[in-house]
């Protein structure tokens, strides 16, 4: 995908503008029965003295698919880090699965940004998936035929089947293609039956057919298995049919709501502080033009592996 000449397109209907500090019946439903999986209230984050985003209000219920969108460098990945508790919020309130961020990480599946295993990684896909299940335990698993071992093996097989990776999960993961590796990594994130799945640009580095296939897989997991998904995305197009909610981050603030509400000329113009137009193509697709996206920033975004500054 050519990042320079790229236009952002989205299928959406005409919508209304959503003001940045969006509060929707925030405190009433929170305590009732099944609370929100993620609740942000007036949240802000600061990295290196610079405020990346602020005034973000967001409530994600069980089984909802949320995309975190925005230009590069606004702190989309940082949002994931905040939800994981790896980075403290500079302001406002953040609750994840009813606890402070980082407290409930055992119930969260996390897929970091662009990981790939090169051909010299001689470990099977099933081993990588299995590490997601018990890799944080002490000791070494003994190759004895115990009930526990059988249960582990069954769960791994089940989740590999769920992502459709049974055909190649036994191969060394370094020899799997990018799409195959991504499916196995999603299986790894899912193997503990998380209630929340945090995905950081999972479609990045995949070709177009794989993008839509993996997007459909994530949508299916989200809606059928009831796992709430927060997905950082560079391009909303492949996931748009599956989305319930959009968080649009930009330098000027943030907007949350349904895709139809957020991806509009008025909202984006206000967020960017510069005229942005959302056009409707003849097939109903939306094209976002006038978005200030410097190519230099784009190529730079994977420069600092693991660093918080690499916020995409």
């Amino acid at each position: 995908m050519n990042p320079i000449a790229k236009v952002r397109e989205a299928v959406a209907h005409s919508g209304h503008t959503v003001p940045a500090p969006r509060t929707e019946d925030h405190d009433t439903a929170a305590e009732a029965g099944s609370g929100p999986v993620v609740a942000l209230h007036d949240a802000a984050v600061r990295v290196g003295g610079r405020t990346l985003w602020s005034g973000v209000d967001l409530r994600i219920g069980p089984g909802e698919f949320t995309a975190v969108l925005g230009p590069n460098g606004v702190g989309k990945s940082t949002m994931i880090k905040v939800l994981l508790g790896a980075l403290p919020a500079a302001g406002g309130e953040v609750r994840v699965l009813g606890a402070r961020p980082g407290q409930a990480n055992g119930r969260i599946g996390y897929l970091p940004q662009r990981r790939s295993f090169d051909a010299s990684m001689r470990v099977r896909g099933t081993d990588v998936v299995r590490l997601g299940l018990d890799g944080d335990r002490w000791g070494v698993p003994l190759p004895l035929p115990t009930a526990r071992r059988r249960a582990v093996r069954e769960r791994v097989a089940e989740v590999v089947e769920l992502v459709g990776a049974s055909g190649y999960a036994h191969r060394p993961i370094g020899q799997c293609s990018g799409g195959e590796q991504q499916r196995l990594l999603i299986a790894q994130a899912l193997v503990r039956r998380p209630e929340l799945l945090l995905l950081d640009e999972p479609l990045d580095s995949l070709d177009l057919p794989n993008q839509s296939a993996v997007a459909a897989l994530i949508g299916r997991i989200c809606h059928q298995e009831g796992v709430a998904v927060v997905m950082v995305a560079h391009d909303v197009n492949p996931i748009l049919h599956h989305l319930d909610r959009v968080v649009y981050l930009a330098e000027g603030g943030a907007a949350t709501g349904t895709p139809q509400e957020v991806i509009t000329s008025r909202t984006l113009t206000r967020l960017y502080g510069t005229p942005v137009e959302v056009l409707r193509a003849s097939d109903g697709r939306l094209v976002v033009v006038g978005q200030p996206e410097a190519p230099a920033v784009h190529t730079d975004r994977h420069g600092i592996p693991g660093g918080v500054r690499a916020a995409g």
Partner: protein, 301 residues
């Protein structure tokens, strides 16, 4: 390297008689014991070295073993303590230099490594009484391994394996997938430091059999061979141990019955195993390609 007093013993192909003859010397029994302990420990640690791609760190630690041993001899203490002291110290220095990033500070490590090697050379020059010169430290020997040395090697070896048994699964997770492991609460950074210390101890052990320059013969080659043969973690770990053990004992036998040095034999046997494994792997790949091409695969973008 030669058995100085006696002529080179003759290999008779009567295995029982040969081994009885070889093991009638206490120093050979000690060499086989020490070799076994070292092979197991370095193969297991080396398996993680290969997986984590830390061969340069391993190389640095092993190079530092040379001034360690030379310095210890110069000070009049057993070389064993020199090996352990400097190897573990070097591992800690590497851990400290790496900072928070996971990539190796190769330039800095290389600089320090060069200086320490030079220091080791000076120690050798200062200690004029060292009979074999730097050669035994660099390339290993099986002569004069004492029972005390075997006890020390065994003790340290058990310690290393016990710690690895405790942290093994978390270390595997942190090696394969550090980001997700960290997200799951695995102490990735602490594990990395702990592993470097284990690496230092294992390198010190291997140095005493293969010499500091040929540590990779037991540390890297068996593990690389095993990982080439299978992608099952437990199986390839067991295979690495077996290969290292075979290379060491075969090497000891060959060195006993020939006038040539131990380090050469151990390394050559290990290398032969590696070449065979690569050859089999390549053959397998070629056969896979010749077979009717599979349905269109996903392309890595």
């Amino acid at each position: 390297m030669l058995l100085a007093d006696t002529a080179v013993p003759a290999w008779s192909w009567n295995l029982i008689a040969d081994f009885q003859q070889m093991w009638s010397f206490p120093f050979m029994v000690n060499a086989f014991r020490a070799g076994a302990v070292t092979a197991v420990v370095s193969a297991v640690v080396g398996w993680f070295v290969v997986l984590r791609r830390q061969t340069f760190a391993a190389h640095t630690v092993s190079a530092v073993a040379f001034p360690g041993a030379a310095g210890a001899v110069l000070l009049g203490v057993s070389a064993v303590y020199g090996y352990f002291a400097l190897c573990v110290a070097a591992a800690l220095v590497i851990a400290a230099l790496r900072g928070s990033g996971d990539h190796e500070e190769s330039a800095l490590t290389g600089t320090v490594q060069a200086f320490l090697l030079a220091a080791g050379f000076l120690f050798i020059a200062l200690y004029k009484g060292l009979l074999e010169g730097p050669q035994t430290i660099l390339f290993g020997t099986f002569l004069g391994i004492t029972s005390t040395q075997v006890t020390v090697l065994t003790g340290v070896g058990i310690g290393v394996l016990a710690v690895l048994a405790l942290i093994g699964r978390q270390l595997l997770f942190a090696s394969i997938d550090p980001q997700v492991a960290a997200g799951r609460g695995v102490p990735v950074r602490a594990l990395s430091v702990a592993f470097l210390v284990l690496l230092g101890a294992a390198t010190a052990e291997a140095s005493q059999i293969t010499g500091t320059l040929l540590v990779f013969a037991l540390m890297v080659i068996p593990a690389a061979t095993a990982q080439n043969l299978t992608a099952r973690p437990i199986l390839s770990l067991a295979l690495a141990v077996l290969l290292a053990l075979a290379a060491t004992w075969l090497g000891l036998t060959a060195a006993y019955y020939s006038p040539y040095p131990l380090g050469f034999f151990v390394t050559s046997f290990a290398f032969a195993g590696y070449v065979t494994a690569r050859g089999m792997h390549a053959l397998h790949t070629i056969r896979g390609r010749i077979r009717p091409s599979l349905p269109a695969k996903e392309v890595t973008a």
